[in-house]
Amino acid sequence: MRVTVDVKGETTHEIDLEELGTAGGSDGRAEPTYADLLGAVDLSPHEVSVLVDGRPVPEDQPVDSDEVTVLRLIKGGSA
C-alpha cells in the first residue's frame, strides 16, 4: 500500500509500505507502524502528532490508512 504522508505546512511524501516493511520496521514486525512511517520522513514521534481522518492515533499501531496527516509541534513560547 502507498501512503500519503502530509506534513502540514511542509511537504507531502508518498511512502510505499512494502518497502518500509522489507527495510525492517524498527522492531522487526511485519506490519509497519505510524512510528516507522515517521522514521521514513526523518521525524521523531516526540515532535509531531499523527492524525488519521482528523483523529489522533497511537504511533506504535500498524498503519491502516493510505492518508496520514502529521502536525509538527510548535514551540509555545511559554510565557
Binding site: P45, S49, V57, P58, L71, L73, I74, K75, S78, A79
Partner: protein, 319 residues
C-alpha cells in the same frame, strides 16, 4: 487498539509508561499530573483563605503550553475562593505572529471568565522586537534580547498585580532540555538558582523577598501530550512558530533528547527527576551566597547585581 482503562479506542501511546489511553482517560491523566505537581510543590499555602486569597499570575502567551496550563488551573480552582487567576500576555512587537496569539489569549480568558492583562514592549520600552532584530547592536540572538525584556515585564507586572506566584507553561521537554544544558555547561550555581527560582517546593526554597516566586506545574507532561490535550479540548492555542526563534544549542539538545527518548523511553522524566534532587542539594550548598550582591539599578530601580540592569543597558544600546 483499545484504551488500557476502558473499551474506547486509544488516541495515544506513552512509551515511557507503556499506556494506551482514550481521549477521556488521556485528559484525566494530564490533569492529574498537573494537580499532583501543584500539591508536591506546595503551591497552595496552608494559610490561604477566601478572605485573603492568593493571586496567581499566569504568563499567557497564547501558545499551546500556556493555554493548556490556564485551562487546567481554571478547571481546578474555579470553585476555590482561595485562588484568583490573572492571565498576563506580552506583545513583543512581532508582526503577523503575536497579533494572532493575543487573540487566542483574549478568547480563552473570555471563555474561562478570568482577568486578563495585556502589555507590550512598545508601551513599556518604546521598542518592537522586529526592529530590535534589525538593529541588533549587541550581535545577539533575538531570544537573548526578548528574554531580558520579558523577564522584566513579567516581574514588574507580577509585583503590580500583587502576585503571590508567577506560573509559566514550561513542559517536560522544555525543562529536561534546560536541565541538560545547565548540566553540560557545568554551572552548578545556576542549577541551585533554578531550584530556588522555580523548581523546588515553595516550602523548601531559599527566601527571595525581591522576586515573586515562580512555578511550572506542567513540567511533568511531555510537549507532545500538551499539544494533544490542546487539540482534544479544542483550545484556542496559536500554532505559528516565532519568526525570530533561533536557539541553536537548545535545538541540538532537543534533537539529542528525541533520540534518547526513542531508544530509552522515560529518559526525560529521569533527567528531570534526578536534576531536581541534585538542584535541591546544590541550593543547600549555595544557600545564602546570593542575596548580598543585589542592589537597585541606578536607571530604573529594579533589583539587579549590576550598577545598571541588563534591560536598561540593552535599551541604551538600542537607543
Amino acid at each position: 487498539m483499545d484504551c488500557n482503562r476502558c473499551d474506547e479506542e486509544a488516541v495515544m501511546h506513552a512509551a515511557y509508561s507503556g499506556q494506551h489511553l482514550c481521549a477521556d482517560h488521556f485528559r484525566e491523566s494530564v490533569e492529574k499530573r498537573v494537580r499532583r505537581r501543584i500539591r508536591r510543590d506546595d503551591l497552595v499555602p496552608q494559610d490561604a483563605t477566601p478572605e485573603d486569597p492568593e493571586t496567581w499570575v499566569i504568563g499567557l502567551s497564547g501558545g499551546k503550553d500556556s493555554v493548556v496550563l490556564t485551562k487546567i488551573l481554571h478547571d481546578t480552582f474555579a470553585e476555590d475562593p482561595r485562588i484568583e487567576l490573572v492571565g498576563l500576555t506580552i506583545h513583543e512587537g512581532i508582526e503577523g505572529y503575536r497579533d494572532k496569539s493575543v487573540d487566542a489569549c483574549v478568547d480563552l480568558s473570555a471563555d474561562l471568565d478570568i482577568r486578563h492583562e495585556l502589555v507590550s514592549y512598545a508601551e513599556e520600552f518604546g521598542i518592537e522586537m522586529d526592529d530590535v532584530v534589525e538593529d541588533d547592536p549587541e550581535n545577539m540572538a533575538a531570544c537573548a534580547y526578548c528574554g531580558v525584556f520579558r523577564r522584566d515585564v513579567l516581574s514588574r507586572y507580577a509585583d503590580d498585580l500583587e502576585a503571590d506566584l508567577l506560573l509559566t507553561g514550561h513542559n517536560l521537554d522544555d525543562e529536561a532540555q534546560t536541565a541538560l544544558m545547565n548540566f553540560l555547561e557545568g554551572d552548578v550555581e545556576q542549577i541551585a538558582k533554578h531550584f530556588d527560582a522555580s523548581l523546588g517546593p515553595l516550602s523548601e526554597r531559599e527566601d527571595q523577598e525581591e522576586f515573586v516566586p515562580r512555578a511550572k506545574p506542567l513540567r511533568d507532561v511531555p510537549e507532545k501530550e500538551v499539544a494533544l490535550y490542546a487539540h482534544l479540548e479544542d483550545l484556542p492555542a496559536h500554532i505559528t512558530e516565532c519568526p525570530h526563534s533561533s536557539e541553536a544549542y537548545r535545538a541540538e539538545i532537543q534533537q539529542l533528547l528525541y533520540d534518547l527518548e526513542e531508544n530509552h523511553p522515560g529518559t526525560r522524566h529521569s533527567i528531570l527527576s534526578g536534576y531536581e534532587e541534585l538542584a535541591g542539594i546544590a541550593a543547600e550548598r549555595y544557600g545564602g551566597d546570593d542575596g548580598a550582591d543585589l542592589r537597585e539599578c541606578s536607571e530604573c530601580g529594579s533589583t539587579t547585581t549590576r550598577e545598571v540592569c541588563r534591560k536598561c543597558s540593552l535599551l541604551e544600546s538600542l537607543a
